[in-house]
Amino acid sequence: MTVQASDDPILEISGLETYFFTRDGVVRAVDGVDLTVGKGEILGLVGESGCGKSVTSMSVLRLIQNPGEIVGGSIRFRGESLLDLSEKEMRAIRGDRISMIFQQPVGSLNPVFTAGSQIAEVYEIHEHMTSKESKARADEMLEKVGIPDAERRAKAYPHELSGGMAQRVMIAMALAADPELLIADEPTTALDVTIQAQIIDLMREIRDDLGTSIIIITHDLGVVAEIADRVAVMYAGEIVEEADTKTLFADPKHPYTKGLIGSIPVAGLRREWLDVIPGRVPNLIDLPTGCRFAPRCRAREEAGLTICTEQRPELRTVEGEHTVRCFLYQEEAR
């Protein structure tokens, strides 16, 4: 069922730094992120709100707006450095080779145009089709994403669509030009649980049928467990742990990942208290020296580590492809 990642990756992000220069100071939203996505791979990018996962994805499309700026690192898409492209070259890539779907399906559709015409526009921009051809293709695309009675729905305006339906339209738009990489930013957050499952199935089908690589950004571990081949956990602008999905859920290493998994209520399991992570995400302007998770970390206190508040841990391999950014797993720190 799962398509294994081939050797040459579709997307390689290394040392990405995206900062926002606000009046209060520099917000280091993404601070040295390394990520790789293979062909036909689904990568889950997990973290709580404000950890920089959306900024990472917007950086890939180079849609970071003032006062934000990509200040360092590299993003290579099929070996080509995206940060060196002109705006025009970048525009040709957006929507055609890399596309994105957003959290608010209804809000992401222009209210004054019909669903069909918005999909058709992608064909007009990227494939230079006539409006008649593109309309026919749009109807096809709507059918492909599982919208019944596609021809009629194509004439519907966004406000006439349900959330799930609108998200399907968004996916149809994103897939219209047959992209190699699809970035889904919280694609299921605004939807009902049953619709969530349908959308997840749809995305998996897309990968299986078209071989599209997918980055799925979410704070919902359930979604990730369901769909992703590999998971990267982000905290305060950096990757803290990365492993294939099974390993990550079976054997989480980083205290933060453990906390995230522990805070999911399990049906049938009786517990007095839900394990929650105390405290809150650090202020990205005034980051703690040392490990960014240290102020909230119980494992550190239990292990009696002092280095955590003094030095920033590196991302190190613990086992096979499993990497973690934590001193608990570094012999010399103990």
Partner: protein, 340 residues
């Protein structure tokens, strides 16, 4: 993206996401309206056919809009069929048909002696049929007002789009020019413009248009500023839509609804200002029939021949009232939060 950054939640793994706030944007309002509409039955309907049809349906339910449209259709009929309706050409002097200057209205049906020629609104100071002049006056009034508003809307929209979308330096320069224009009382500025350009119909249209450009520029700019932050604009950018295409094809259509309301109300003001300029002798020149200049020509006879002042004034009021009522109705239809 940005609320990710600036809104750290107090709990990890927030299960639900905050819905966007109710924006001030008109199209949002329409969307809400469709959802909340208790009688329209369009909730969940697949094909109810577009925002404009929704607005259209809503407009015909508004009493004020209906009255406004009725008033305006009378005027429009007068203007279009003027040669058929008017018994004489508007500038034909009728002294050889046995009339004298400022004859009061003579309607045979209401007991005016049959031997006198019938002039339902009387004769003006120069011996012309007043009814014919009133009828032809509707052409000038409507055309001039439409032309002035059209000109102002086109330029105002361009300026508003550019300054809202590109911001920064361009925005600053354009908006400061608009501020200067706005700092004069509009009629005074129009008078100044006409004084420079010279009196006449075209120049007074230009003057009124120039004076009202800032109004439209501001409306459009503020719409653009709010629409620019909408998620569908980011979505379009992520699809590789170019900046100009985004502005013209995606953002502009969303600014239309407030613009149409303001423009409709603006026509009412333009009608009044054309009449005012003509009244002052700066607008339409005689012998072209124009209500404002007709009013001015006979204003000293208000006690001896009141019909010559009354009907011209009535027509101006009729026209202004029509556009105001229609504009109010449109606004209520487009933004259900006002008028209900």
């Amino acid at each position: 993206m940005s609320d990710d950054l600036y809104d750290p939640p107090d709990r990890p793994l927030e299960p639900t996401n905050v819905q966007p706030l109710d924006g001030m944007e008109a199209s949002d309002a329409i969307r809400d309206e469709v959802r909340m509409d208790p009688s329209g039955g369009s909730v969940g309907a697949v094909t109810s056919g577009g925002l404009w049809r929704t607005v259209g349906r809503e407009v015909v339910r508004k009493k004020s809009a209906i009255i406004g449209m009725a008033l305006l259709s009378v005027l429009l009929l007068l203007a279009v069929f003027a040669p058929i309706i008017a018994p004489y050409p508007p500038d034909q002097v009728l002294f050889d048909e046995g009339v004298s200057p400022r004859d009061p209205p003579c309607i045979h049906l209401f007991g005016c002696p049959e031997d006198q020629p019938q002039h339902i609104l009387g004769i003006d100071g120069n011996g012309r049929d007043y009814f014919a002049r009133i009828v032809y006056g509707s052409r000038v009034s409507l055309l001039a007002a439409f032309a002035a508003v059209l000109f102002a809307v086109v330029w105002g929209t361009l300026i508003g789009l550019v300054s809202g979308f590109f911001g920064g330096w361009t925005d600053n320069v354009l908006m400061r020019i608009m501020d200067v224009l706005l700092s004069f009382p509009s009629l005074l500025l129009a008078i100044a413009v006409v004084t420079v350009l010279g009196p006449g119909l075209i120049n007074s249209i230009l003057a009124i248009a120039i004076v009202t450009i800032p109004q439209y520029a501001r409306i459009v700019r503020s719409s653009v500023l709010s629409i620019r932050e909408q998620e569908y604009v980011s979505a379009d950018q992520a699809l590789g839509v170019s900046r100009w295409r985004l502005l013209i094809h995606r953002i502009f259509p969303n600014t239309l609804t407030p613009l149409i309301v303001i423009a409709t109300l603006g026509i009412a003001t333009a009608v009044l200002e054309i009449a005012s300029l003509s009244f002052l002798g700066l607008g339409v020149q005689p012998p072209t029939p124009e209500w404002g200049s007709m009013l001015a020509a006979e204003r000293n006879q208000v006690f001896t021949a009141p019909h010559l002042v009354f009907f011209a004034g009535l027509m101006i009021m009729w026209n202004v009232l029509g556009f105001n009522l229609l504009g109010d109705g449109l606004r209520d239809a487009i933004d259900p939060r006002l008028g209900r």
